[in-house]
Amino acid sequence: MATAGLHDSELGELQRRLIILRVGLLLVVALLGLRLWHLQIREGPYYRDLSENNRTRSVIMEPARGLIYDRNGVLLANNVPSFTLYVSLEDVKDRDLLIDQLSNLLGLDTALVRKKLTARGSKQLPRKVKDRLTLREATLVESHRLDLPGVMVQVESQRNYPGGVTASHLLGYVGEVSPEQLEKPEFADLHQGSIVGQYGVEKFFDRLVRGQAGQKSIEVDALGHEKRTVVVEQPHAGDNLYLTIDARLQKVAENLLGEESGAIVALDPRTGDVLAMASRPGFDPNILSRELTPKQWAEIVQNEGRPLNNRATQGQYPPGSVFKVMMAAAALQSNTVTPSTSIHCNGGYQFGRRLYHDWKAGGHGSVDLRRALVQSCDVYFYTVGQRMGIETMASFAHQFGLGEETGIELPSERIGIVPSSAWKQKAKNEAWLPGETISASIGQGYVNVTPLQMASLIGTVANDGVTFRPRLVQAVMDRTTGEVQHRPAVPKRTLNLRPEILPLIKEALAGVVKEGTATRAKSALVTIAGKTGTAQTTALRPGPEKDIPKKFRDHAWFVAFAPVEAPTIAVAVLGEHMGHGGSASAPLAKELIETYVKLNLPAPSGVKDDAVVRKGTPEDKE
């Protein structure tokens, strides 16, 4: 082959050039190695973080709220498992598509879902879209999981109130923390979708009951599907609350009011324990703890009966003749009258050009203090009030806890009004008129009180002048340590009265039931003392009761305590527009007291069978 030699020399050339390849190869491989060193060693930790973030999602584990029991260990609020739908925004590729899919699948409102997904907040934390999914809905979502990247169904505990409407105002309800709340410091550790108490005990004791959220990190694949749980930071359940109320008594109190609007408060005067606190109309906290549509919400808020109003602590009414209890004590202490001072009542009291009527057209004749209370003589107290003056009256009213918070542990307690010239100047920028003193002396005019204040007032009388702050929660149990912390009864104030005054008044109040305006409260079971009140709601001259439209009728008051000798229960009943206290409210109080006595029959009064949490409680009384 002639060309072979030539080829051969070219082959030599070629082989000589191999050095280029060798050097080039080493150079390039060195560069690759450098790059990989940079990625894996220098920036390795950074990329490892990225890969961790890639695969792990934080999922909040909502804590179980603390349980709420009554004084005997009856469950009032617990948690039931329920399905909650979350969306992890990081894994959502096409948000609009997902919104459509979810709305179609679960019949949700598109705008609502959109709002939830677009609300401000951390992108890392999953958004709660719907709670209380039915089993069907939950399985539906699970079966479409592959088409719904980023969607998770979590089992969570949901607040449940086994008693339904029972004690609704007292227990309150829970709901998602609102954006406004989230900006406040006390909600700083919460996040969108957290459940907080929004009313009642649930709200007031939210910090204790709420618990602490945990977090679990779940590993997801590229489509956002959960593969396994990586780290679990367990949530801490909230503390359990043991209330002072007796669920049985509570139920009776609510049934007594029935369809009427009103409030019943029963206290243990020796401790301030709230035994029952009913307010009608009520609501079902189970419904309110759910997510309501704006329409449902509007229905509740605009309801004429104002079911969300806790009439026991937020309803303000003129006390009417119940005020006379305070007036009697004030009259004696201020030496305005003595027990034997007699005043003639002819059915009216002339002041200036105006005649102030007694409720009894013909008058009560000559009455002393005891008879004035028993018969609820208005003229007697007009006279006393006039002699005493509004300032003295106001200072005694304050001593009895009127015009101030009772200190009950419920949100938004109202304080009522104790009028005085200073108050009027401040509130209305007007001078006090002498005639207003006369109205005030029978608990009319500007005087306003809450049923709870009235219960506290009569409880103070029953307890020989010592007021206890109304107590709702007697013990708190830390669910992680199991430690029970008892909350002692707190004496608030002792009336500054001469010792002979309260026995006198108590005896007179016993007379009210025995022979006076509240004979319908007389019980064969227990001795009851009380005072009726009929609070006028309008200046209209009352015609025959049945002809007046309901909303103009008087409020019926009755306050009572029993047994007279050693009181263990103090009750205030207010029936809105139910007419006379003696006929409408007194029987309710009697029923309630009798129920209470029957419930506590096995043990003599003073010792209650509530060993569940009371063990080791420092003796409350004295």
Partner: protein, 386 residues
């Protein structure tokens, strides 16, 4: 004359060594060479297994890959044990057939992710562009060795015209990766054959080898949308999700491996499917995540060793055809390894070049093994007309 003498002396020594080795037929060199191939193949299967072991089908990828390796071994043996001169004589007809197949792919081919690259063959699909690379090497080697090619026309333009139809057909699919390999083979062979203007050749090769780094600088200065447009123009199939998702996930996978790696199955990027194509183009990222920088270094050393042995074959080649074949195959391998690792490491746009011997793929595996068989053949065969 001294350098020439030195060269002569070296060649004589090599011949003596070869004679000794060849008398045994199957020598130590062959052992090392084949051993390296199968170690790399094994690492590849392991990585594919790691990503696809829970695939849940009767015949998962790693099992298929073993089948491809077996077929590849057959191809390797055939290419090794035949006479490469005889194989080279088939180069032109083979190139013609490949051109026809590449044309067929355009019309009859199977589409996947926006590109038509496959010809369905029963349950499998055959990718002509992979084989086109080897056939191109054969063709060019055959062309240059058949007669002394002198002058610009014979050395550069004519072979260029030979390359062009194949290149265009491949780019039309589109298959940017194979197209670039085509160019790389052409440029490398041009350089090794030698040109009047050596500077041009040196420039060509280095520009090719440094392309990743130059690209990095150029690419880095572009806006995202510009890059996307360019990439969408050049290769619409590479990143259907857009926004550099694949590139990022691959970089995360490699970086997260750190020094020692996350261990087999420990690579969350690949196990949880954040990393796309973990068994094919991004098999290196899977490996890097699981075995870390140490594993990566070891793998690089394996590849360098294999190529180093291959360069030895060129150095000992007895004729120009053999040397050119070997050089072409080496350049193709180098190019694929460098560009694949470069692209997974984010030095280079993602152009869809599989990692030789490691990425899953029937056509690529068989073709690579056939090429290596041919390479070893060059060492075995000697000039027959002495």
């Amino acid at each position: 004359m001294m350098p020439l003498c030195g060269r002569e002396r070296r060649r004589t020594r090599n011949e003596m060594i070869d004679r000794v080795i060849n008398s045994r037929g199957f020598d130590n060199f062959d052992f090392r060479f084949i051993g390296l191939i199968f170690v790399i193949l094994g690492v590849g299967v392991l990585s594919i297994y790691s990503v696809t072991h829970d695939q849940g089908v009767a015949f998962p990828f790693y099992a298929k890959q073993v089948v491809w390796i077996i077929l590849g071994t057959v191809a390797f043996l055939v290419m090794w044990l035949s006479d490469y001169h005889r194989i080279a004589r088939l180069a032109y007809p083979a190139y013609a057939i490949i051109l026809i197949l590449l044309a067929v792919v355009l019309f009859e081919g199977k589409s996947s992710r926006g590109a038509q690259r496959w010809i369905p063959m029963g349950p499998f699909a055959f990718q002509p562009s992979e084989f086109a690379k080897l056939v191109l090497i054969l063709t060019l080697a055959h062309y240059y060795s058949k007669a002394p090619r002198v002058g610009w026309l014979q050395r550069v333009v004519l072979p260029g015209l030979l390359v062009l139809p194949g290149l265009l057909l491949i780019l039309k699919q589109p298959d940017l990766g194979s197209g670039l390999s085509f160019l790389a083979v052409y440029a490398a062979m041009l350089l090794m054959v030698g040109m009047r203007s050596k500077a041009l050749g040196v420039f060509l090769l280095f520009s090719l080898m440094l392309f990743p780094f130059a690209w990095e600088v150029m690419w880095g200065s572009l806006h995202d949308y510009q890059r996307q447009r360019i990439m969408a123009f050049v290769d619409p199939a590479y990143d259907p999700g857009g926004k550099g998702y694949h590139a990022l996930q691959s970089r995360i996978a490699i970086g997260a491996g750190e020094l020692t790696g996350k261990g087999l199955y420990g690579g969350t990027q690949s196990q949880l499917k954040f990393l796309p194509e973990g068994h094919t183009d991004f098999v290196f990222s899977v490996f890097a995540e699981e075995w870390g920088f140490l594993g990566v270094l070891a793998l690089l050393i394996l590849f360098v060793a294999l190529i180093w042995l291959s360069l030895e074959i060129v150095a000992r080649a007895k004729d120009q055809l053999g040397a050119l074949l070997a050089v072409g195959i080496i350049c193709m391998l180098c190019f694929c390894v460098v560009v694949n690792i470069g692209m997974t490491a984010g030095m280079f746009p993602i152009v869809g070049i599989p990692l030789p011997l490691m990425s899953y793929g029937g056509s690529a595996t068989i073709m690579t093994m056939a090429s290596l068989g041919l390479l070893l053949n060059v060492k075995r065969r000697r000039l027959s007309f002495f």
